[in-house]
Every structure is written in C-alpha cells, then in structure tokens.
C-alpha cells in the first residue's frame, strides 16, 4: 500500500451507500487524513446500482484514480461490476449469500454491461458462472475475499437490540459492511464512533443501534480477518479542516458574496445547492449588522427561475439561479432580457452529460460553448469556470462582483464531478472574499440631477439605480431602447446602444486581472503545455506530478474565464509550447476551439472524455505519457470509470 488508500462502497440505490461513505469519509477526516470522495448514481430512486469511492491520504488529494484497495459490496451486482478494479494486495468484502448467485441472472445488469464484461473474461480466458467463481478468479491476482454472512450477523445484532423484523435489520447492511471495513484496516474506533454520532445527529436510539452493529462487525473482522495486511493509520494534525461537496461550496460562496434571492427549479445535480441554502436561510449576525437572510424560491420552471431572479436584481439585490443543462436551455430567452437590460444576474450552471436529458446524474463538460452563446443576439456576458471545490466557493462569490461591476449576466460553470464530489480542505477564508458592487447609486447620488438608466459612457457601464428609488423614474424593456429605457427603433440609437453594451465586454477584458482568469501550474520552460478548464484540474495536477517523477517537464494552463478569453496571455504561453494538449470532458474540444478562434493557435493533441464519468489521474497520466513519447494519436478518448 502506498500513501493513499481507496475504499469503495457499492450497492443498490436507497440501500445506504451514501450514508456509509459519508461515515467512512468523516471517520478518516477526524483521524487527520485527507479525503476525496466521488459519488456515482443513476437516474433512479431505488434499486439501481450506485457506488461511492473514497480516496484517503495523509496528503491533500484532488482527484480519483483507477484503483480500489478495499471494495465493500452490499449485493452481487456490486461485486460483478467492480471486482476487477481491486488492485493486487487489495480485498473485497461480500455477503456469503452472493457467492452462489449466477452472474447472468442478476436482473439489473444491462446488456451493454455484459458486452464489455464478457470481452474482459474472454481476454482473460475465464468463464465464471457464479459470483463465487468470479471471485476465485480475482483472487488469483492477489486479491483477498472477505466473505461475511451478513444476515446471520445482522440477526445476532437484531437480537441484541430487540429488533427481530427482518426488513428493519437488513437496513443496517451498510453499517455492518462499514464495521467490517474498519475492522479489516484496523482503524481507530473512536473516529468511527464520532462519525456515526455526527451522521445520525439527534437520534440517540439510531446512534446506539448503529454503533452496536458497527462494533460487532468490527470485532468480527478483527477476529476473522487478522492477516489483512492493511493498516489505515490516523495522523496528527492541528489544521482546521472542513469536508464538503461542491454544491455546498457554491452555496457558501454565494452567501458570503451577498446573494439574497435564489430561485430554482429542481434538477440534478444543481438542486442540492438550493436545498442547502434554504435550510441555512437565516444567517448569524456579523459584527453589529442585523442578521439578514436569503430567500430561496422554488419556481414553476426555469423560465420563471431566471426571470424572477432578474426581476429581483432590478431592485438592487444580488440574486441568482442555479440549474443544469436542460434548465439553462429554457433560460435562454430570459438571459437575453437580462443582457439587453444590463441586469446583474448570476447563473450557477452545473453541467452533466448532455444533450437533452442525456446522462442526468452523470458527469459532462459539454456546455461551454452553449454558456457563451446561449440566447439570440449579441450581448456581453462573463463565463467563469471553477476547477475544484475551493474555487467553487470563491468563484461563486466573485461572480456577483463581475455581474454588478459590468451589469450583465454571469454564468458560473460547474459540473457534476464538482457538485457531487466531497473533499477535505483547509478551512476556507471568508475574509478573502471582497464585494464590489460596481456603480450602484442611491437616491442621494442622483438628487437634483436627471438620471438616465442607460446613459452613454466611455466604459459602456451606466451607473445603476435600483427601481423604487425616490427621485428618479426610468424604464426597462426587452425592446431596443434609448437612454431612459423607452422603446426605439431608430437606426442611430440602435447602433450606439448595441456598441455601448458590447463595450462592457471590452472593458471587462481590459480590467479583470489575468490572475483571476487563468491559473498556471508547472514548469515555465516546459515544452509540453496542457490547456483545460473545470473539474479535470485535480486529475491533471496529479498526472503532472507523476510525469515529473518520470523526469518530464510539463505545464498546465487552467482557463477560469473563457469569456472574455484572456487571449494575449494564452497566446504567450502557447507560443512557447512545442506540444499543446487540450484536456476536456467533451467530444469536440470546445475550449480548444475557442482558443483557436481567438488566437489562431490550434492544439496538437486532444485528450477527451464524454462517457459520463470524471477523468482519473491515471488515465490522464497514461494519455500524456503517450504524447511525451510521441506515440499518441491526435485524439485520445478516455473511457475509464464504471
């Protein structure tokens, strides 16, 4: 076992995979370890396969890898799906009951799965009929099988807690397997107890029941699987750390950034953010300020969501809406209204596998171009892409500054991999958040003057006044308008108004510092340059570390604001690179296309993935290695992940 340890729990949706993963992750965090967790689920409520992969390390980690050290299965399907992912030296926890299960008889395994699965078997020249047969084969590659009589143990536990009802006790399979897991890796029980207490919160009966089950399973594993060869050790740390998922980071960033109205229509994976915000609606007072609160409105559709947030923004409040692809498609017309009326509204856009309903619960980065171009006509907007959960926090706050400063919609692109991944971080620093409200006027500022909402200025930015302010009157309209906001179709006014609005994009391009628009990592003088955006960041950084260990020099340009694109800077970096590589979670290399459009510089290589699963550090490493060895095709398509 190296530095890190990867645990995976798999089972039918609704059987407590998430809870057990949450407990596992927290227990590790409490023991001073760093954690990165990836959640995979299907568009289903109960029964379909889901899994949670938790990577643990004494060092901070930002990605998944293609390997499992300990696989913890709730059912036969999880064994069949993930058995080959377990690394030599690793182990598989399973129910003794499933050993006799016929693989071909598992009803929830779809035929495309078998096509791939049988191919693997043919390559290996094996033909297992049952789960047990399969495990015997897996065992040959130095993987231990920990078969545990789940039901028998659960019945014993049931007796002790006075619960004989089968349906009630089988609900504890997740805690049982968790106990076995911790027993096998010999992890300190006090951290596990703490995690159980935290997760089951205010329900003492449930806590004691689960603790009992967990301890029993733990002891069982210690007794029966002594020679496991794993040791998961806690480490000392004084660092103040948090553990959270992307949607929470976005929500917290929005709160710190002063968002006070949030509208949404339920959609995966965006809805978690709004639900969290609603739960935490009323804030603590800070200093001598009154407490304040955010209103979260669940609307009838995304059209209402964007238009309601926009209507709210007219009053001077910071408002936002949060959605994913199908919702953003519906928002297109509303976005244009905000554009022509110069309304600061923020859209937090969680991409998932697209088009249409696509892969509703799976990862994708297919919507960069759509975010930049959605809605008819030309108007300025700013598109901001976070690369990790911490960036989600600071970007979510900063999005409002751009929106208000340039008085235009801001689209904050996030993706499913960020939304539903969990990670431990050093405590965020809300003190780093700064609020820039741009030219937001009050009644006092305009007293005695004639105020025009769309006054022509050199920067294109007209000082803004909230509707309802005494001492002024003006109009908004989605029609082309004059300076006071009345409809006009006069050619000269039209020419000037469009130019005024578009001017703001030039102003933003000039003003926003390059440090906010790109991150540059690695060796300045490297001849290999990776360009990417969004969630592949963590996996790319880890792959770069591996390459550096091989003696390869490489650098990485992470684009955080693809629109307006910091083209001079990108040009400078790319001009120095002999090998320019785009890494993106889509088919066509959308950012690469935009860079080529703006700078004329084409990429030499593409590493692309659109199978609905995030990129792992290993697969990026392998793909980059081929490129450095001059053995790669122009396009490499990654297909990892189950």
């Amino acid at each position: 076992m190296g530095d890190d340890f990867i645990w995976m729990a798999g089972g039918p949706q609704g059987s407590g995979v998430d809870t057990s993963a949450n407990i596992f992750a927290r227990a590790c965090c409490y023991g001073g370890l760093h954690v990165y967790g990836k959640r995979e689920y299907s568009s289903n409520i109960k029964g379909m396969h889901s899994y949670f992969q938790i990577r643990v390390s004494p060092k901070e980690i930002g990605a998944i890898v293609d390997r499992v050290n300990l696989l913890c299965t709730f059912d036969a399907e999880s064994v069949v799906r993930h058995a080959w992912e377990v690394a030599p030296g690793g182990g598989i926890i399973c129910d003794t009951e499933v050993l006799g299960t016929k693989i071909s008889g598992i009803p929830s395994l779809p035929s495309p799965f078998f096509e791939e699965f049988n191919k693997t078997l043919d390559e290996k020249g094996i033909h297992p009929e049952t789960v047990g047969d399969l495990l015997s084969e897996v065992k040959k590659s130095n993987v231990r099988i920990y078969a545990v009589p789940y039901l028998e143990l659960l019945k014993e536990i049931g007796k002790e807690i006075g619960e004989e009802q089968l349906s009630k006790i089988t609900r504890m399979i997740n805690v049982l397997t968790l106990g076995v897991s911790f027993g096998i890796v010999n992890y300190e029980q006090k951290y596990v107890d703490k995690a159980i207490n935290m997760i089951f919160g205010k329900k003492p009966k449930i806590i004691s029941m689960n603790l009992l089950a967990l301890n029993k399973a733990y002891d069982y594993a210690r007794k029966n699987f002594k020679d496991a060869g794993f040791d998961l050790k806690s480490v000392e740390t004084n660092e103040e750390r948090i553990f959270l998922q992307g949607t929470q980071a976005v929500a917290l960033g929005k709160l710190a950034g002063g968002c006070r109205i949030q509208t949404y229509y339920p959609i995966t994976p965006a809805a978690d953010e709004s639900e969290y915000l609603e739960e935490k609606q009323v804030f603590e007072p800070e200093g001598n300020m009154p407490a304040g609160a955010i209103i979260v409105m669940q609307t009838e559709d995304e059209i209402a969501a964007i238009t309601m947030a926009t209507g709210a923004a007219l009053t001077g409040v910071r408002s936002a809406t949060s959605t994913s692809g199908p919702g953003f498609s519906l928002m297109a017309e509303g976005l244009g209204w905000a554009g022509i009326n110069e309304v600061p509204v923020v859209i937090n856009y969680y991409q998932r596998g697209a088009p249409s309903t696509g892969l509703p619960t799976r990862h994708g980065q297919d919507d960069l171009r759509f975010a930049i171009h959605a809605s008819h006509g030309e108007f300025p907007r700013i598109v901001l892409c976070s690369g990790d959960i911490e960036e989600c926090f600071y970007d979510a706050a900063r999005a409002f500054n751009y929106a208000e400063h340039y008085q235009t919609p801001v689209i904050h692109l996030i993706d499913k991999a960020l939304a539903n991944s969990n990670k431990s971080y050093k405590m965020f620093d809300p003190g780093r958040v700064r609020i820039d409200r741009g030219q937001l006027l009050t009644a006092a500022d305009i007293s005695g003057k004639t105020y025009q909402r769309f006054e022509f200025t050199d920067s294109g930015i007209s000082p803004r006044l909230p509707i309802g302010t005494p001492g002024a009157i003006f109009w908004y309209t989605g029609d082309e308008h004059n300076e006071s906001g009345h409809i006009t179709e006069e050619p000269m006014m039209r020419t000037r108004m469009v130019a005024k609005r578009m001017k703001k994009l030039e102003t933003a391009d000039r003003e926003i510092p390059v440090e906010e628009r790109v991150n540059f990592f690695g060796d300045e003088d490297a001849s290999v340059t990776v360009v990417s955006w969004g969630s592949p960041k963590g996996a790319i950084l880890e792959a770069m570390d591996m390459l550096r260990k091989d003696g390869q020099k490489i650098n990485f340009l992470q684009v955080r604001i693809p629109h307006p694109l910091p083209k001079d800077y990108i040009e400078k970096v790319l001009n120095k690179a002999a090998k320019k590589i785009a890494i993106e979670g889509n088919y066509s290399g959308q950012l690469a296309g935009i860079i080529r459009e703006k700078t004329g510089i084409p990429m030499d290589y593409f590493i692309l993935k659109w199978n609905g699963r995030p990129m792992s550090a290993d697969e990026i490493y392998k793909a980059l290695l081929l490129i450095t060895q001059d053995k790669a095709q122009t396009r490499q398509v990654l297909t990892g992940g189950s």
Partner: protein, 322 residues
C-alpha cells in the same frame, strides 16, 4: 404637493390603433394611481409582450416591459426582493393564458401581494390578430382564416381554482368602474386579478364596442340596446369572504357567476378573500426580519467591501479537524 393625474403621464408617443381599448385601461390605471396618490417612484409597472405591453412606457412610474408570457415571474422577483414596491402587472390574454399559463397558475397559489391586470381582447393583437386563448370555440374574428378550433379559457374560473384571492372583471370603456376596480385590487392584501374586457377594433370584429353595448339587441319596450355587461354589485351579489368558513361557498358562487357569458356578462368583484396568508406573510414566518429588512435593503458588505454575512457557523458545521 398633491399628486395629479398629469404626474402619471409620460411624453412617449402612443401608437395604439385609434379606438383601441387599451386607451381606457391606461386612463383608468393613471386615475387609480392618482386617486390613491401613490408616489410614482414607489410604483413598478410590469408588462408582457403584446400591444398591452407598451402600457408602462406611457405611465410615469418605474416601468418594466418584460418578455412574452413571463411578466408574472419578473414582477414576483421584484416584489419579493422589495415588498415596499407597489407592483402592478399588465398582461395580455395570449401572454398570460397561452405562453405564460404556467406562471398564471403558480402565481395564484403564491398569493403575492400584487395586482395583475389582463387586457383580454380575444386576439393576439401585436402579431396581427390570431386567436388568443380566451377566444371562444367556433368564433371567427377578422384575421382568422377559419373559425377558432379551440375552446376558450375563462380567466376568472381559472383564477378561482388557482388561489387568486381577489378576482374581478371590468370593461375598458367603463373607466370609472375600471378605475375603482383597480383601486380595490391594489388595496387588496394578496394576489389580485382584474380581467378587462378590451376591444381590439383592428382585429376583434366580434367582441366590439357595439357588441358589448348590445346594439344588436334592441329592447322593444324602450327601443334602446340592452347592454351585455351588468354589474354584480347591482344584483346584490357579494363575493367577499367575511369569515374563513365562507371560502368554499363563495368560491362556488363565484364560479357559477364566472360561467355567465354571451347575453349577460357580469363585471365587478367575483371573489375576495383576505384570510389567506400572503407570500410575504409566509416568508415572514420563516424570516422574522423580512418585512423590515427585505433582500433589497440588506447590507452585504462594509465600506471596505468586506462581506458581512456570517457564514462562520456554517463553515464550522462542516469542520472535521482543528
């Protein structure tokens, strides 16, 4: 200084067709605002897209001319953020009952404290006279190649079953009745709907001024036309819910009245119920400071741009070490 009617007018050239019913609606609105002496800067007039959509440009108050069908959510957002605004919404019949029908329904059940005035002319005026959702089955207005193949929606009955707490009908030509109805709607605590029977002399050649006046129905006794519209108040009808127990019976009575059409069309208040909590009240139950410190008034940063939102407690909830 007392506010006069002229204070609510703008100098914007009005390009509605001569004789358009919108003129009466505009005048009634301005008269209502003047009667109530509402400060123009406290009033926000929202509109959808259609001929009616130009209304705010003619009124000296904050005006927001939105998108086709989406006027209600725009207005809702503004009212939610700043409940001190007097929000008045103008919508078309196509705008609110066709493309925006989902918003019509859901705005009812929220019961925001706003006023919604539908300019019901039976046609899509601005796109040159296609059938609107309120046009009755089989009716063929001027621009239709064939008679209307759909049944018409009745906005009053729809409002009754979707939670509107003030529902009235009025007529574009009866500016005093309309003005008084708009005033009642503005004063009502909750979501108020005023459906205005509006002529479109250019495209609706069926529901014309003459038709409403009953000029095709001469009373043999008096030799005068028998108007189609009659006033609910004058028949002793009382749509006001005086105690919560009356909610269902009054809704049913209003429904019965709402189905009247053709030769006798009621105008006036069908239903009013102030016992239903408004959205503002519901929010205040969750956020005690909401009325005094609504979103639009909240301070979010100190003078150095430092955020003042206390998220430390939330971060602490996520803490795992230290």
């Amino acid at each position: 200084m007392a506010l006069k009617l002229a204070d609510y007018r703008t100098h914007v050239f009005n390009d509605w067709c001569p004789g358009c019913g919108n003129f009466g609606i505009l005048a009634s609105l301005q008269m209502a605002l003047a009667d109530l002496e509402l400060q123009p800067s406290r009033v926000a007039i929202f509109s959808g897209i259609g001929c009616h959509g130009k209304t705010p440009h003619f009124v000296n108050a904050y005006g927001i001319h939105t998108l086709h069908g989406r006027v209600l959510p725009f207005a809702t957002g503004a009212k939610l953020a700043n409940p001190e605004l007097e929000v008045i919404v103008h919508g078309g019949d196509g705008d609110g009952l066709g493309i925006g029908a989902a918003h019509f329904v859901n705005t009812g059940r929220r019961n925001m404290d706003m006023t919604y005035i539908i300019h019901d002319n039976g046609v899509y005026g601005l796109t040159k006279g296609q059938a609107s959702p309120t046009l009755k089955l089989g009716v063929k207005t001027k621009a239709l190649p064939k008679p209307n193949i759909n049944e018409g929606i009745n906005p009053v009955t729809l409002a009754l079953v979707t939670g509107y707490t003030f529902i009235a009908r009025s007529y574009c030509y009866d500016v005093v009745h309309l003005k008084e109805t708009i005033k009642k709607a503005i004063k009502h605590k909750g979501m108020a709907l005023v459906v205005v029977q509006q002529w479109c002399p250019t495209y609706n050649d069926i529901n014309t001024k003459e038709w409403y006046n009953g000029e095709d129905r001469i009373d043999p006794a008096t030799g005068k036309p028998v108007p189609r519209l009659y006033r609910l108040e004058e028949t002793g009808y009382d749509g006001i819910v005086h105690n919560p127990d009356e909610t269902i019976p009054k809704t049913l009575a209003a429904l019965a009245k709402a189905y009247e059409w053709g030769d006798r069309i009621p105008i006036g208040v069908f239903y009013q119920n102030e016992f239903v909590s408004t959205y503002q009240e519901r929010i205040s139950q969750r956020i005690a400071d909401y009325p005094g410190y609504p979103p639009a008034k909240q301070v979010i940063a100190d003078e150095h741009g430092k955020p003042v939102t206390g998220i430390r407690k939330l971060l602490d909830e996520l803490k795992v070490t230290g």
